[in-house]
Amino acid sequence: MTQATANEKKITVDYLARVEGEGALNIVIRDGELREVEFNIFEPPRFFEAFMRGRSYTEAPDITARICGICPVAYQMSSVHAMEDVLGATVGGQLRELRRLLYCGEWIESHILHVYMLHAPDFLGYQDAIQIAADHPDAVNMALALKRIGNEIVSTLGGREIHPINVKVGGFYRAPSKKEFRPLREELNWALEAAQKAVVWTATLPFPDFERDYEFVSLRHPDEYPFNEGRLVSSKGLDIPINEYEEHFTEEHVGRTNALQSHLNGRPYFVGPLARYNNNFDKLSPIAQDAAQAAGLGATCTNPFKSIIVRAVESLEAVHEAIRIIDQYEEPDMPAVEMEVKAGRGYGCTEAPRGTLYHSYELDDNGLIVDAKIVPPTSQNQRIIEDDLREFIKPRIDLPVDELTLQCEQAVRNYDPCISCATHFLKLNIDRG
């Protein structure tokens, strides 16, 4: 379409609904051409980094857990691993298994909430979760019950459903007895079936035809689908120990809004379930691999909209892993490993529901925090989300404003962005004259 004069259209949405926190998206379409796409929803958790200076290393798990309302376990796990790295401690055996179990709970609750209540409405043309509940009550009830089991894993082991209070550097304050897991173990049988149904259900959703050549970044471990340990790898050849993160990954301010974007040796990259899946399909349990393949996924997948299926697959994997861990569980002699305080620098990188979460700390001789650096998954994905939108909008540039807005929101939600630590209120603007 051509116009004699410069013609800008503006689409404004005051907040980006159905992502954690609030969001901002600026799109300028002028004279029928896409001129600008600026996605900036994320402020790094600088308040928390500063707040932790001078505090004891023991406080890091509890302080950082408050950065994210829906993935506190991830923050606790990255922080305890980083502190143990500084202090030269290894947490293995049943304590290691319990940490994986805790993460299983968080993945299930986070993924299932996102799949059914935040993302699926987009695919089905609904405004919100309310409409999906009205039209698909059975599916929503199943999802809420499955999510609740994820919460229960976290509360049984973590001592509280949302911000676990049982996690400490070295392990736990108290290890549960085998008996405490019995009610949960019963429910996990149902959860396994429910998670399988979730994979089947997500596969029936209508998917836009959209594929890109991504660089997927995640942990990779020789023996397991990754949660807490492994090397950092990419689908384009990166393979480094996590303590080399800052040599390859940098954050830069870009654009008018001074957004912070993460790059891998200058390139954009992608973290999260789809990245983990692409890098670690061979480490999924047979039940999860079979479900993924029956859902039409190959060992690799480059359509970000299909991340909704992958979240269901990871939920299934998490239920399966939770069952394995509980079935082999024997109460450890000690709930935690002893720590010897010393100065140094350490690194932790674990797989939050939304992707790799990096923590680095420097401690002094008394175990007090001198410096802290936290890079959440959503801040790492800001650049790739913006790039996706640029490609996504081009063939859809003539769509009516409302329709384009909804589809852009759906595209952003592919990344399940978690922006609860956004420190300012931002707007969605599509500037189309």
């Binding site: 159905r18 309302g69 609750e109 209540m117 935040l118 979760a129 809420l144 609860s420």
Partner: protein, 142 residues
């Protein structure tokens, strides 16, 4: 009676609603452009309707009608209080009585302290809750 502190996770709230006969929910609220429910106090009667009114108290009977998303969706959880109430309604999981108090906040800044206006509103809401509780006990006793 149970007193629970919730992070506002919508799914958790639906679970609580489905297990209770009467629920009183108190939450921080965004400035509402329009009056919602019964407004017990507007902090400063002389300010214009566009100005923030920290400490204003909104009391909503959530069983009687839909909860306005604009008032209570300012949590850090996308699936928050208002959505949880409406999803619970769609699933037939609302309790017999659900009263929501929204106290308009002065600031949502991380690391900030509770303002005087909100502090005063909290005292007032406590009194209102006492009255609600008595009513709830009477009406669900049958």
């Amino acid at each position: 009676m149970e007193i629970l502190e919730s992070t506002g996770d919508g799914a958790e709230l639906i679970e609580h609603f489905s297990r209770a006969r009467a629920v009183i929910l108190i939450d921080a609220a965004h400035r509402a452009a329009e009056v919602v429910g019964s407004v017990y106090r507007v902090a400063d009667e002389n300010v214009s309707s566009d100005s923030p009114r920290p400490g204003s108290i909104h009391r909503i009977d959530a069983v009687a009608g839909p909860v306005p998303i604009s008032l209570l969706s300012g949590t850090s959880h996308a699936f928050g209080v208002a959505e949880a109430v409406e999803v619970a309604r769609a699933l037939g999981k609302l309790p017999e009585r659900l009263i929501i108090y929204g106290i308009e906040a002065k600031s949502f800044e991380i690391g900030g302290e509770m303002s005087e206006e909100v502090g005063a509103a909290v005292e007032e809401v406590a009194t209102l809750i006492g009255r609600d509780w008595t009513t709830a006990l009477t009406s669900v006793a049958s």
